[in-house]
Structures are given as structure tokens and as C-alpha cells.
Amino acid sequence: MKIKRDLINFNDGLALESGAKLDSFELMVETYGELNNEKSNGILICHAFSGNHHAAGILEDSEEPGWWDNIIGPGKAVDTDKYFVVCSNNLGGCAGSSGPLSINPVNKEPYGKNFPGVSVIDWVNSQKLLSDYLGIKKWHMVMGGSLGGMQALQWSISFPESLNKVGIFAAAAKSSTQNIAMNEVGREAIRKDKNFMNGDYLHHDIRPKSGLKTARMLGHITYSSEAIMDQKFGRNFQDIKSKIDRDVDYEVENYLQYKGEKFSDIFDANSYILMTKAMDGYDASFATNGDLEKVLSRVKAKLLVVGFDSDWLYPPQRSKEIQLAAMNVGVACSCVILEGEQGHDSFLFASQRYVDIVKGFIES
């Protein structure tokens, strides 16, 4: 598989939904496979909240395979032998695209908490500029899971002529009250970390790691399901030798400690707040005063909506709402609810039926 990673500069900048303007910005982009002569085989992957541009394969020996490596690759559901697959780190992230860790050209200091708030619509607009840069007038498909699924949906609304198909997995047309509530607990953990310094921690050369860790531990619980936690850890005790912390009793505690710790090493707290705010703020029907059908009536692409039974963060009902609103206004839309025992995270795993459906939809 041919993999390329590029940092692409957009000197014309971007007017943001909030009214602010980024005078210039950069997107970190990975591509897999090759664009055909007609430039008709492009598939754009939108990552979830904490994901990044590294969706598949391995570019450097030291790194792990991309976050959707079991879905994207030669012969896989998203077949890189046939399609030119693109994934970019969202604006405001912390994996290379412009965000709170980037240097503000005005004062030559990191933006930190002053990086402007961005929205799902801003991400789609920035990716439209990326499409123009790549010379892709029409994506064969735009797809993603969770927040990435919301972004894919917004693509079909913002630029109906610029894509043929849309894949919306474990997502919703808007964040629910419960989603916002969960995110607020995570943000509160970060804000109350004494190292957060009201978002100015970069100036003090410290990181609010403890708050980030707590936020991520809660996150992992919401991404999982009762059944999979039982199955993976049960009530097993962590053995003494591999305990991360001596206060830990159970395997599940140790797992959350480990995952939280790892995340707090690599993720930026201001990005965390910015990304979760973007997620909370998303409502596809905001511009039409809550009328989802009205906003979907402009969609021209074919939609595939996939929900997972064990997902309680974006439960199957959220998928069915998108399907019904689309059908009410005559937009082509398929909807399947898969068993997926991994909870919200199910969209990341390549179960046979999921792979068949996604591959079938892409190649139909």
C-alpha cells in the first residue's frame, strides 16, 4: 500500500463559523493508494474525537498501525488497491494540523487556549479546501464513525454536489444531552487540574496530565459496554507485578489507569476541550431550527447509516432518526443495526458483517 504523509499549508486561511478567521492554517494529511486519472476514486475518512490523520498502515517503523487499519488497506472494506483514501487531522487537533499547540503567527507564541473555537462545519469547510488542493471535485465517498460520522453527514449537507456516498457509523445528527453531560465531566476534570492554569499551562511549561487522564478514563467507560467490560475483565483482580498503581484492585481499574495515562502523554488539554465543544455543538438541523428533514432535503448522496446494539453513547435510535428523516424527504438511505459487542467503539472493529456491508456499499 502506498502511504504518504504531508503537512499542507492553506495560505488563504478560513473564515470560521464563530465569525473568527484563521489567516492561514495547516492540515496534516495521510493518503493511501493512488488517485486515478479521472480523480473519481477518492474516499475521505473523518476521524473520531481523539483520532488523527494516521488511519491505516505504518509509515515509520516506530509507529503503530493506523486507528482504522482493520477497515482500510489492500483488499479490506475500504480497498486501497481500488480507492485513493485520504484522512486529515481535524483543525484544532494536536496531531500536526493547526491547533492550540501551533505557533500563532501574530505573536510567535503557541495559541494555547486562544486557538479559536472550531465546529464540525469548519472542519468540513477546511476539508473542502483540501479536496480542491488534491484536485478532487467529487469524493466517491466520505465516511467516519462517531464524531467522524457527524462530519461525514455534514459533508453531504454542506457540499451535496461534491460526494456520491456517505458512511455514517455509530453517530447521530446531533449530540444528545447525555453526550454533552459526559463531555462536561471530562472538561471539568481538566479545568480543575492545578496544572491547567486556566488553559495557560504551555507558558508555565507544565501539562494538566492528571485531569486529562481522568477525562479519558471516563471516556473509555462511555465508549465500551457493560457486556464487553464483563467479558474482557470480569471481576478479576490485577496481579501485583503489573499494577500501575498500588491502589488498584481490579483489572478494569488497571486498564483505565493505563489507557488514561497513555492518552495524557500524547493529547493536548486545550485540544480536548476544543474538540469536545465542537462535538457538543454539532446539530445538523441547527440552521433549520431543529428541522432535520428540511436540512437533509438538500442531500444528493446515498447514505449508509450503521448503528450498533451495544452502543449507549450514540445508540441505534440515533441512527434510525437519520434514516427516517432522510427517507421522509426522499434521500437514498440504508440503515443497518449491527450486534457489535464493543459498545460505541464497535465502529472501529472489523466484524464480518460490518466489513461486508461497508465494502458492498462502497463498491455497489
Binding site: L324, M327, S334, V336, R353, G360, E363
Partner: protein
């Protein structure tokens, strides 16, 4: 689905209408209706393999158990709802028919006729009927509510459904004089276009 039946259904579907096919199977009827009548079509199916076939054909398919209710779809304003050879498999066919006519102006229903003479012969000889329209053995069949042509038309009368058109096919899948004139005995399958009175 045989050609005669497909032709009957296709002729009843207006051009560019909005159609929902309950129990759409592999989506081949919807595919024909999209190709020939430019319909805006949706299929509802529960079988995983058939859902996959629909997706491969590019048909919009919704995974759903019709018995769990289709009232959600009332907001979709369909022109025609189709239920081909599935009505007898539902837990409450009469309620499903009511709901179909709530979400669609017209409704096409096809059903096997238990009054067909070969079924009567099978029963008279002491065996459960097995015919081209009722191919499964009693222990394998998904049919829960089999009825005769007379039974079905009585239900339509009781429920206040108007039968706008109907055709009767013999066990070769053809319209014949016998199946037309004495359907309760000589039709293997009934095909109905229903609407609310």
C-alpha cells in the same frame, strides 16, 4: 418473483412515485422499479444475507422486523407500499395492513391461496399442502397465517379496505380463465391493489 407477477406490480406503480417494499428480499423488484419507473424506493428486510444483496445492488434498505411496528414510517408519505408474499409470515397481518395503508396511499399485497385445489387435495389426502407458492414443509415454513382468497377478501371488507384491482395466478404463475373465474379454487396466488375506502 415470476415475470407475470412482476409485470402486474410494475404496471400498478406510477412513474417517479415513492415506494416502500416490505420484505423486499434481495431488492430485485425495487431495482426493476427504479430502472423502469424511476421510483424513489426503499426496502425493508430482516434477513442479513438479503440485506447484503440489496446493498450490493445499490438499493436503500432498512433492517427492521415488521412485526415490531412500522408506524414510524407514517411520516414518509409513500405512494405505494408493497408486501409481496410476506403478509402471511407476520404475527398480526391485519394490523400490518392497516399500518401500511396509514403510511401509503395504495398498497400492493400478494399472498398464497390455501384454497387452491392442490392444497385441498393435499389436505384431503391427510397431508399439509406443499405447492410452488407454499414450498416449505410444515416444520420449516415461516408462514403463520395462511388464508384463502375468500378469507382475505372478507378481511378487506371487515377492515374497510377497498380492492381497487386484483389478479389471480395459477401455479405456473400465469393468469388463466379458471384462476380468474373461480379464484378460490384455481388461483395459487392472489395479487391485490388496496386502498382505504
Amino acid at each position: 418473483m415470476n415475470i407475470e407477477l412482476k409485470n402486474i406490480i410494475t404496471n400498478w406503480i406510477p412513474n417517479e412515485s415513492k415506494v416502500i417494499d416490505f420484505g423486499c428480499g434481495d431488492g430485485s423488484l425495487l431495482k426493476d422499479l427504479i430502472d423502469q419507473k424511476s421510483v424513489c424506493g426503499y426496502g425493508v428486510e430482516i434477513d442479513h444475507i438479503k440485506i447484503q444483496e440489496c446493498i450490493l445492488k445499490g438499493i436503500s434498505v432498512i433492517e427492521k422486523d415488521i412485526d415490531e411496528g412500522i408506524q414510524d414510517f407514517e411520516s414518509s408519505n409513500f405512494d405505494v407500499a408493497i408486501m409481496a408474499s410476506s403478509i402471511q409470515c407476520l404475527k398480526e397481518p391485519h394490523i400490518a395492513l392497516r399500518k401500511m395503508l396509514n403510511l401509503s396511499k395504495q398498497c400492493i399485497v400478494t399472498l398464497p391461496n390455501l384454497g387452491f385445489w392442490k392444497c385441498r387435495l393435499d389436505l384431503a389426502s391427510g397431508r399439509m399442502p406443499v405447492t410452488p407458492n407454499l414450498p416449505s414443509s410444515w416444520y420449516e415454513t415461516k408462514n403463520l397465517h395462511l388464508c384463502t382468497i375468500k378469507d382475505f377478501e372478507k378481511l378487506c371488507e371487515n377492515e374497510g379496505f377497498s380492492i381497487n384491482e386484483r389478479f389471480f395466478l395459477n401455479d405456473k404463475g400465469n393468469k388463466s380463465i379458471l384462476s380468474k373465474n373461480i379464484p378460490n379454487t384455481f388461483a395459487s396466488e392472489g395479487v391485490y391493489l388496496l386502498a382505504k375506502k
